[in-house]
Symmetry: C2
Subunit: 731 residues, 2 copies
């Protein structure tokens, strides 16, 4: 820790947590509104906490089992990093803690947002946005703080000579195992949450809106609370855990690759490790600054509000470009401008993906409008148009990632083809750059469900239409920023997964050194010490070439896993929603007072059904995601594992963009029609667009985002299972 | 040609063409039925020929342009094989010729099938099936005959020492260029044909069935002839050209890899080249035998007919297993049983994919039934269920291809990890094995549209319901065998593309030798003559490893191209169908006599609209498929090209299976409901299932099969552009 700049990370993390606490306290002091409003808020909070309790209960069991297995592998068989059982539990715990804080804040804030919306839009924005910032700052604060903590701790307890190049590689690859717990928790939050939210949503709509003919968010609908809980479960806790994982994963991968890239120059190693931490730390400070910039005068209109929001986000992004140049220069890292170029490449890639998401899914542009127009000829043409739009929407994001990674690689390698590891370090740094201002981008994402819930509360509490209008304005404002947020989520998942795949080989190196496989030797007749082997040496040794059939077969398997995972999550929503439909129908049938408004429906049962359904349905897809890299590793070895990860990443990324954008475009095509186009509400085109929206729901909120988790989880599983793969390969 | 077994190929090809001619003559002597039947048949034939004329006209222009470009590259710049301009034109010409014969036969046969169906089912089967066999035999006859011819010719005109190992590598890689023309023609036939058939189908249904309320195949529908033409254009000409390409491509790749694998043993080289040709020749003889086995007694029932059909197909397949062992043993090829194992692996892979297609899409099994059940809750759940079924249906085909290629590789390499090229030769041989009995499998595919058209003819000619019942029975029989046929088409496309990718490096080798790049030298410090370089040497030299960012980026691009291509073809059908809808509406509006049955609609205009629409809409997707490998090659070089091909293949294969099976399952779920389940025809479930079927149409008949072309075309473009890639790489 002889790099003072490193300490920026823990300090910034404390800073983040302090402001998160301040914003939380500030929110608690706000007016909670009427008795009814409070009651409804309590229902939602109770449901959300019930969901979390259930999820944490199952997680406890799963984590205990997996930690036990890891312990056996580590201490019994000795084929596993001894730190893993501990870092695994901590990674999961802190991600879960961030989710808990975020959900608490969001559910407490929505009532207060409704209350504020009774008087002004600007006030409501303030409550909602700063509460969203709690989630953003808790995620980055707990994430970065932990990484810094583990880095110091592992460094302290690792035997070896800190002056030796291999020492820091060992330390950073050990800390990398922290990602496993975060990834596993993200799986529960994102996949389980995604199934929960859509089961509740589809179930509530199908019986309430379609069969019983009552409006959205009507308190007579037994699934209405589950639906509101779902927004928090999916968009707050799920999104938060997803990005917690990306955030930690990208910093961890950058550290490991930085240590590896400069293994021959120990003086430079610590700088390369400190750089991503320092950039992340700076990003936190600038995020807090950005949050404070989001303010507007009393009585501001929608356009002005959007301006205020953009001002906060854009200022943070612009300043990080300048500030990261300064900190890298201060740090005196080799090839300062190359590394800085990588940071900027990552940031720009994120922005481009965000804008392209907006283009593909906003009713202001051609793609979504073409779907709305197709709705005039019926449901079939609506679906076909949406599928076409979704598939074509993959072009820009893929080109952005391709260009961003190529540039980051070239910049960081100084255009020197022999500096492959430096280049890969650049890709990881690009991911860190993209996520550096996560504190504020996540805030602008997490405030959406708060506003959405506030609207539900206004509806259920029977407040005047002007309140609902204000919360709707906030909600639709949130949709614009959410498009950018979603772009960042999938883009950062891709870059993080790429960086994790690149660090995989460093973990393999450590395992080989531990196992005493010190020399490489093969057909080419060269022989080199494992510690000195270059990436190309490894690739030659393990035959990780595309003409090795193990690699080709694994590529196919990777592509298949992405499709299978999506198919299973799509079907899971269908099945869980079916249970919800039956429960709502049962309540209406057995208690006719509910629809008359004379007796209260049993909200808890619906919450319980969604909760249990989500946990049960996520079992098989999760198992596949975890088992795939282990099984392929046992069958085909290192080359097969890398093939699987690459195939899963390429197909998974493109499939995720397709699913998310098709779903988003259908949703907004419906809204466009509801705004009075193509016949407006109740027209045949509207009916067709509702079908498109229903199909798009699991696409955009379950299967698409779940793929973010799949591609990262498979990489991190491969990393922690590297020792097992090396010890027990069959073919 | 000192291997007598080689001559089996040209002989068998003449044998195939002779029997094709015999079956054609036999069909011509059959009764053509009444005046009306003849007239309708003439309409369809005229439409089909109008389509072919238009397609060939455009092809002539495109082929002239591309051949000109190839000539410039070859003779002007010297970066291209000088044979290419010639083989390119011949490949295209013979594929087109096969399509022409097939279409002529199919359109002439359908009226005669109707005529035969007036008296018996068995007679109708005989006419339809043997006419389908004309297509099958013409494809294999022209394909294999041409390859043998070019092989002899190129051998004759190639300078060099036939005793030298490099000589036959040069000859086989030159003949490989024959695949480019076949591939380009397949693009027109499959993509253009796919758009044509669905534009006509959807257009005819939307206005005729839905708006005007007239039944399917009603002669008052102006698009009815276009619809019937479409069946021939898509399922006869499109499928034929697709498989012509796979058939030639797999044999060509096997020859090239065989020559490369035994470059050190010139005595074994010719045997390795003769083996795929001989197996294909044997397959032709056994296919003809199989066709003769398909006969049944007068008055046989449906089950008996299916038995007769299966008997023919299964006997051919079983006998090829035995016969190929004999011929390989006779040939005295090294590792006889290993190569034979590869043949069998390929055959079994094809069968497994076929059966899994049947499982996923037949109403007798759970997946399709679950879609039918979901239709009870409306269109949205029908679509979601179908998407889920389609995504999960990718598991078995991917596992089959993965297992098949792994086994073929291991068998052919004799489980010796240093024999990589032998192993890849095994993968190509597996593709040859899968397609060896194409003569009869294609027959059982091509007779479906003949029966389908016969049904249309019966309807339009006002024949009694018993005739339609018989043709429907034939049609539904065809659907069962078509599932297997589709499995073979996609499975063989995957294996062929794999084999082509593997042969790419041999083409690179030749180009390097020509360019004088004789030595390899890199970081590993080894140096080897290009002629003696192993696959691993090449991979190391070009850094075709998965951690090379050029490869990773290209993988993403490959996955994206597959999605973009599908998105474009899906949208193309939508646009072309829209034009058809407008034309049919216009005719109904301007000529009220049509619906009253007093005046004849203008069939030709509808045919022309579909024809022109198909040709226009295929331009952009085709351009992308052709440009992608060239552009990526120019940007990222050899490593990038291989990454693109691998990414496109893995994602394209899985996406194709998903699209085809989802479409097939929706189609059959509708039929299942129409058979009286879930409320039967006219029920809400039926209406929902019709929406699913309409969405599935472009999935299963346009985008899915077009992906077969994409994955092969990109590989062959890469192969013929190898010289350009090597001469002009930017990065």
């Amino acid at each position: 820790m002889n790099e003072p700049v490193f300490w920026l990370a823990p300090l910034a993390s404390i800073f983040a947590l302090y402001f998160a606490w301040r914003f939380f306290r500030e929110m608690r002091t706000q007016d909670e509104g009427t008795e009814t409003m409070r009651e409804i808020g309590a229902h939602v909070r109770k449901g959300a906490m019930a969901y979390l309790r259930q999820q944490y209960k199952i997680m406890l069991v799963v984590f205990a089992l997996v930690a036990g297995l890891f312990s056996y592998l580590a201490y019994g068989l000795g084929v596993q990093n001894p730190w893993l059982p501990v870092t695994f539990i901590f990674g999961g715990f802190f991600s879960a803690l961030a989710g808990y804080f975020g959900m608490q804040t969001a559910t407490l804030a929505s009532t207060r947002t409704t209350a504020a919306a009774r008087t002004s839009l600007a006030g409501a924005l303030n409550v909602a946005f700063r509460s969203g910032a709690v989630m953003g700052l808790v995620v980055v604060g707990l994430g970065l703080g932990n990484l810094a903590f583990w880095f110091v701790l592992v460094d302290l307890f690792t035997a070896g000579d800190p002056g030796d190049g291999a020492y820091l590689v060992l330390v950073t690859t050990t800390v990398l195992t922290f990602g496993m717990g975060a990834s596993m928790q993200a799986l529960f939050a994102r996949v389980g949450g995604g199934i929960y939210t859509k089961a509740a949503d589809v179930g509530a709509d199908l019986v309430g809106k379609v069969e019983a003919g009552i409006p959205e968010d009507d308190p007579r609908n037994p699934a209405v609370i589950a639906d509101n809980v779902g927004d928090n479960v999916g968009d707050v806790a799920g999104m938060g855990a997803d990005l917690f994982e990306s955030y930690c994963g990208s910093i961890l991968a950058a550290s490991a690759l930085g240590a590896a890239a400069f293994a021959a120059e120990p003086a430079m190693q610590m700088k390369a490790i400190a750089a991503p931490m320092a950039i992340a730390g700076l990003g936190i400070l600038l995020s807090v600054l950005g949050v404070f910039l989001v303010k507007t005068r009393e009585g501001a209109g929608q356009k002005e509000l959007l301006g205020a929001l953009s001002k906060g986000i854009n200022t943070s992004a612009a300043l990080i470009v300048v500030a990261s140049a300064a900190v890298l220069w201060l740090l005196g890292i080799e090839n300062v401008w190359g590394v800085w170029g990588a940071v900027v490449s990552g940031l720009v890639t994120g922005l481009v993906i965000g804008r392209s998401t907006e283009y593909s899914t906003s009713p202001s542009f051609k793609p979504t409008r073409s779907i709305a127009a197709a709705a005039e000829s019926g449901a079939a043409t609506t679906i076909i148009a949406g599928i076409g739009v979704g598939m074509l929407s993959t072009v820009i994001p893929v080109l952005a990632v391709a260009t961003g990674t190529t540039l980051a690689y070239l910049f960081a390698s100084g255009f020197d083809p022999t500096q492959m590891t430096q280049g890969l370090y650049g890709i990881a740094i690009a991911a860190v750059g993209m996520l550096s201002t996560l504190g504020i981008t996540l805030a602008s994402d997490a405030y959406g469900p708060i506003a959405d819930n506030a609207g539900g509360n206004a509806e259920m509490s029977g407040l005047g239409p002007e309140v609902r209008e204000r919360t709707d304005a906030l909600d639709s404002l949130g949709n614009t920023t959410a498009a950018t947020g979603k772009g960042f989520a999938i883009g950062s998942a891709a870059l993080t997964a790429l960086a994790l795949i690149a660090s995989y080989i460093e973990v393999i190196r450590i395992e080989m050194i531990k196992a005493g496989t010190t020399m490489l030797d093969l057909g080419h007749g060269f022989s080199v010490a494992t510690a000195d082997a270059s990436l190309l040496d490894f690739m030659a040794y393990y035959e990780v070439t595309l003409l090795n059939p193990a690699v080709l077969v694994a590529l196919f398997l990777g592509a298949m896993v992405a499709f299978t995972f999506s198919g299973l999550t799509v079907q899971a929503v269908g099945r869980a929603a079916q249970l919800m439909v039956e429960e709502v129908r049962r309540q209406f049938r057995e208690n006719p007072g509910i629809l008359k408004g004379t007796s209260e429906p049993d909200y808890e049962r619906c919450v319980a059904i969604s909760t249990v359904g989500a946990q049960r349905e996520m079992a098989i897809p999760s198992l596949i995601a975890i088992a795939a890299p282990i099984v392929v590793g046992l069958l085909f070895g290192v080359a097969g594992v890398i093939g699987l990860l690459a195939g899963g990443l390429a197909t998974g990324f493109v499939l995720a963009v397709f699913l998310s954008n098709a779903g988003g475009a259908w949703d907004n095509a419906k809204k466009h029609i509801e705004a009075g186009n193509h016949g407006g509400k109740g027209s045949p085109a509207h009916r067709a667009s509702v079908i498109g929206d229903t199909i798009g729901d699991p696409f955009k909120d379950t299967s698409g985002p779940s793929l973010n988790i799949l591609i990262k989880l498979m990489s991190i599983v491969a990393i922690v299972m590297a020792g097992v793969t090396l010890s027990y390969t069959l073919i």
